[in-house]
Amino acid sequence: MSLTGLYIGHVNSLTLIFDQLKSLGYTVVGYRIIDKALRLDVLKTTEELARDVEDVQDPGKYSLIPGNFYRHGPDSPKKFLYPPKLLLFKVTPKWDVIINSEKYEGKLAFFGIKPCDLASIKVLDRVLTNVDELYTKVRERMAVVVENCTSSGNTCFCATMGTGPRARNSFDIAYTRLGSKLVIEAGSELGLRLINQLEVEPIDDNTYRDFEVTIRKAASRARANFEIDNLPELLELNIESKVYWEVIERCLGCSNCNMVCPTCFCFDVLDIPKIDGSAERVRVWDGCLNYTYAQVAGGHFRPDLWARYRHFVLHKFAYWIKQFGTFGCVGCGRCITWCPTGIDLRETVTKVLRGMAI
């Protein structure tokens, strides 16, 4: 929730916020260009932050072009809150267990992530708080500076999922860039402290109107062809839909969707023996599209790909509500962009719902 209402300043003050976070001892993470994509990475200065670039995202395609607004890349905050590979403990040759405790150090700040990214953290909160030790510890000392989206991408559907293009709560600072103007609001004590350092004034009528229109325009494009009212019930009622069978004609079962999904939290645990007689237990990301995911001692409970894909869709849009009281999907569109064959989750859901009407 906003504590301040909207203020107006100059985009240059973003550097001040960044430097303030650094001087408060935060490790600042934001989007930078590495190779040919926006990657979430630890940043030393605002110079490293991606700028003058736009991401063009379509089903199965990603590229960067010159521009002044970007959304995201394959990484999401989960990369830092729930790392892809995590050493849990070591066992020495004498059977002493050494828990990996260095993983809990430090304060993390996300800078310039988008409302869908922030929403994904809120989803993970419901799943991992007080369940996952690392997540809980890092989350307690975390700051978020979120940038509202002034332009949505071709795979975005945050407006449908109610997660964007404007962040409404759970941030320290939310800002919107309108040319050289910065519309900014604080959502926490920390946010207030940061805003107080800046030269800002309450927003004027014209800028507010401009802000309204820009956000509304972004929202109108960030839509899927379905509504979320009664979505869990409708999807479950049509659980036998043949649409899932049709879609997997294009599905590779490669789990890229799981890997890039900002809320997919499933994992596998590996025991890795070392030559010196010690061993390590490591947690790695896993996903429900992966064949071995549902392979357990004694058998396999989802050997067919259509069942695995259906589980992915229904978990995000139906089961998640029952389990955690929120949708598992934030509408970021990563699973659409990073699918090697460009399977469009929005289309799947729309088609299943249409099947209901007939």
């Binding site: 590495i34 004609e249 294009r250 490669c254 025991d271 090697p340």
Partner: protein, 255 residues
């Protein structure tokens, strides 16, 4: 703990996979404290007769003589692990399975009638029961070591069998297929190499062969959409693991 009695056998192959044991270098010194290489022609001249606790088998079966030999290896081994692309799917010499071998013989050898060769080069699993596979061209030394360490401690050895994409994403690589439109076999290829080629911006060329539940025909369709020429698609699959059943399904569409 008594030392495991290990044998390393070679069939039709380039020796690159068994060389990986020697490439372990630093670990090798500790490894020989744990296991005994009772038969390993590339490493030592001394040979202990079987039976062996664990036999690593490199290479494909391409001559009648090798068929007899692999049967003997089976009889003498408690556990057989086939190692590398040749031993798990036929390898590059299996490319001749689509060609006229007689013709090759006539070109290459002064006395082609002396050459006794099977119609097809096949992995040992065609002729004998194989217990485990370690894939790759060459097999990864880390996986070989990991296999031995797991096995000798009585754990069921587990190596990844999922698509490479998972390993690629865990490594933080950018998808070369989505970003560059590079044809990549990663989505249908078994993980285990640590996504070596995509880490250098190249497409995966599938040396580990098909993953479990590999969807090669779907990827084939994707490559067609990307307007790859039929020959290009065929040659992508017709490499190190071309003779594996799943890769063959695509190759044979273009034969």
């Amino acid at each position: 703990m008594s030392k495991l009695k290990v044998a390393v056998f070679k069939f039709s192959s380039c020796d690159g996979c068994q060389l990986q044991f020697l490439n372990l270098e630093e670990e090798l010194i500790h490894l020989i404290d744990l296991i005994d290489f009772a038969l390993f022609y590339e490493a030592r001249t001394y040979v202990e007769p079987g039976p062996y606790d664990l036999s690593f088998v490199e290479g494909s079966i391409s001559t009648p003589h090798e068929v007899e030999l692999i049967k003997k290896v089976r009889d003498e081994s408690k556990v057989i692990v086939t190692v590398g692309a040749c031993a798990t799917s036929g390898g590059i010499q299996a490319l001749r399975n689509w060609a006229n071998v007689k013709e090759f013989q006539n070109y290459v050898y002064p006395r082609p009638e002396w050459i006794e060769v099977l119609k097809n080069a096949e992995p040992p699993s065609k002729y004998v029961n194989v217990d485990y596979e370690v894939r790759g061209c060459p097999a990864s030394k880390e996986q070989l070591l990991s296999f031995i360490l797991q096995f000798m401690r009585g754990k069921i050895p587990i190596l990844p069998i999922s698509p490479l994409c998972i390993e690629c994403k865990l490594s933080g690589n950018l998808c070369v297929l989505v970003v560059n439109g590079t044809p990549c076999l990663g989505p249908v290829t078994m993980a285990g190499c640590g996504a070596l080629c995509p880490s250098y911006g190249r497409g995966c060329y599938g040396c580990y062969g098909p993953s479990v539940d590999s969807r090669t025909l779907v990827l084939n369709r994707r490559f067609k959409e990307m307007e790859l020429k039929p020959k290009e698609i065929q040659l992508l699959f017709k490499q190190f693991a071309g003779w594996s059943r799943k890769f063959r399904e695509v190759i044979e569409e273009y034969e």
